[in-house]
């Protein structure tokens, strides 16, 4: 699903957010990306979501080379990904239903289909009764669950979450993480960036740890060759 081969990301000014990172996450796997803040977790997720491009090295998403993908193809790549943000990025000028249905709307589903899938996604995160509410009236945990519903409503192959529990207490955090585990159990590949080590311990999922841009621990290390031939 995701492959990083010797990826380095250097920002303007010379700051290296990722240094020679290689990793692989297969279809249907779930892993945590850990590390202190500024270790490069967000940058790694942004590269997968085509928000940033790697400076060096190669990134493959579902066998598509993200280094060379055309700007016009980026929206179609993002449609295979569900992204969950720490600040959930909801639109406050529309209802919960309209927020969650946005990905389906963008992809041109029929109205009946949109309604059906949106309610299913809201039901999955336990917020079906809030579909007509405005996001501003919801609690932080509820807002985050709306963000999750929006990320999964179009049944993406891959879920990316960047500090999804950052602003939540431990009970709510556990609930949120459990939702990710449930999605993983029905076949969705999940990559969660988090520094909530206690919670990660409980969940017993493979971990990849970044430190100052370098991958210092990788439970999914399969002894990949440093340079991979055949893809371009």
């Amino acid at each position: 699903m995701i492959e990083f081969h010797n990826v380095t990301k250097r920002f303007e000014g010379g700051y290296e957010a990722l240094k020679n990172v290689s990793l692989q996450l297969d279809d249907g796997e779930m892993a945590f990306l850990t590390g202190h803040s500024g270790a490069g977790k967000s940058t790694l997720l942004k590269i997968i979501a085509c928000i940033e491009k790697p400076t060096r090295g190669q990134v493959l998403l579902n066998r598509i080379n993200l280094n060379t993908v055309a700007r016009s193809r980026v929206p179609y790549i993002r449609r295979n990904i569900g992204i969950i943000f720490q600040d959930h990025q909801l639109l406050f000028d529309r209802t919960v239903f309209d927020n969650v249905s946005l990905p389906l709307f963008i992809q041109g589903y029929r109205p009946q289909e949109i309604a059906k899938r949106t309610r299913a996604a809201l039901d999955k995160v336990g917020l079906l009764h809030k579909e007509k509410s405005m996001p501003i009236t919801l609690s932080g945990g509820e807002q985050q669950r709306v963000g999750i519903a929006r990320a999964v409503v179009h049944k993406p192959m891959l879920l990316l979450a960047d500090e999804p529990t950052g602003n939540l207490d431990s009970v709510l955090s556990r609930e949120i993480m459990q939702i990710f585990v449930d999605f993983n159990q029905v076949g969705v590949t999940v990559l969660v960036a988090s520094h909530d080590l206690n919670l990660i311990e409980e969940l017993d999922k493979p971990r990849m740890t970044l430190n100052a841009g370098q991958l210092i621990l990788n439970d999914l290390d399969r002894g990949m060759p440093e340079i991979l031939h055949g893809y371009e």
């Binding site: 929206p75 992204i83 990905p103 992809q107 192959m157 590949t189």
Partner: protein, 319 residues
């Protein structure tokens, strides 16, 4: 794994075309809703566009009326042929027949020397003094009516041709004031064209600026929709329709302003008509003018928003 599942559940092609049309409809509706949600901004923008467009619209109508009136003058422009005094009645009538057969001539009227004298005696009140004259000083006269479809050039040619005839003493047409009028009209026409272009540019800028503010206000929404896989075209659409609405409503307002302006001055206009005993019909926008006005204002709206959206939307990327 997920690939095959997704492929099966994605909408089919015909549904996609339907969905595409549906999104156009929804964008149209959505952008209209946005205008409705911010009535103050909308009314101000539409009013500015309407007022801006009403100026060229009003000038156009003014010109159209002047054109119609001067057209009446043109069709009534006659050439008077004063024949030489030595011409007999018979020769003069034969000449009239020749002139009547010329191209660009609609009709001719013959006024004999005797008729002219009689008319003069009756109208002028100089009857007594005329009686003292030994002979009739007035020549035979032929009034030539050119065809209305003949242009100024053709009429002038006709006049020169008639003047060159040996039997014609003087061929006279008071065309100079008409030509002056046409020249002034041409200046006015070009000025209106210039004003129209300038004001159209103003409308482009107004709409562009409004859409630019709209884009800034919806910055967050654009970022989020880009992140969940919206194409540029999808994001562009509501803004483009926003411009279309501004243009359309602005055009309607400008039409209303011009029609109201006409109502305001129609009272004195009709009185003027009565005073001059003229039968001048004042013209307002025809259906054709109305359609042209609305479609050009709508196109201006679309163009204004297109330019802005193309410039600004690309710069907004998630980071």
């Amino acid at each position: 794994m997920a690939t095959s599942r997704n492929r099966r559940e994605r909408p089919a092609t015909t549904n996609r075309i339907l969905a595409y049309l549906l999104h156009h409809l929804q964008s149209l509706q959505f952008s209209l809703g946005k205008l409705y949600q911010a009535p103050a901004t909308t009314i101000m923008t539409v009013a500015v566009i309407g007022i801006t467009l009403s100026l060229p619209g009003g000038f156009y109508l003014f010109l159209k009326n002047i054109d119609a009136i001067s057209g009446d003058f043109r069709s009534s422009s006659q050439i008077s042929l004063f024949l030489t005094l030595d011409l007999s009645d018979k020769q003069a009538r034969a000449l009239e027949q020749d002139v009547a057969g010329m191209t660009d001539v609609l009709s001719t009227t013959f006024i004999s020397r005797q008729q002219a004298l009689a008319a003069f005696r009756q109208d002028s009140g100089f009857g007594k003094s005329i009686d003292t004259l030994s002979s009739n000083p007035l020549p035979h006269t032929i009034i030539v009516e050119p065809r209305p479809e003949a242009d100024t050039f053709a009429v002038r040619n006709l006049l020169n041709g008639l003047q060159a005839m040996p039997e014609v003493e003087i061929a006279k047409m008071d065309t100079e004031w008409l030509e002056r009028l046409y020249t002034i009209l041409e200046i006015a026409r070009r000025s209106v064209a210039m004003i129209t272009i300038l004001f159209a540019c103003a409308v482009l800028l107004i709409i562009g600026n409004t859409i630019r503010l709209d884009i800034q206000n919806r910055y967050q929404e654009i970022i989020v929709t880009k992140l969940i896989g919206a194409t540029d075209a999808f994001i562009r659409r509501p803004f483009l329709y926003g411009g279309v609405w501004y243009g359309l409503f602005g055009g309607l307002v400008s039409w209303l302003i011009v029609e109201m302006g006409y109502l305001v001055i129609s009272g004195p206009l009709n009185r003027l008509n009565l005073l001059y005993q003229a039968d001048l019909r004042f013209i307002t926008f025809s259906l054709h003018d109305f359609i042209v006005l609305l479609s050009s204002s709508t196109l201006l709206g679309l163009a204004g928003s297109w330019i802005t959206v193309a410039r600004h939307l690309r710069q907004i990327e998630p980071s």
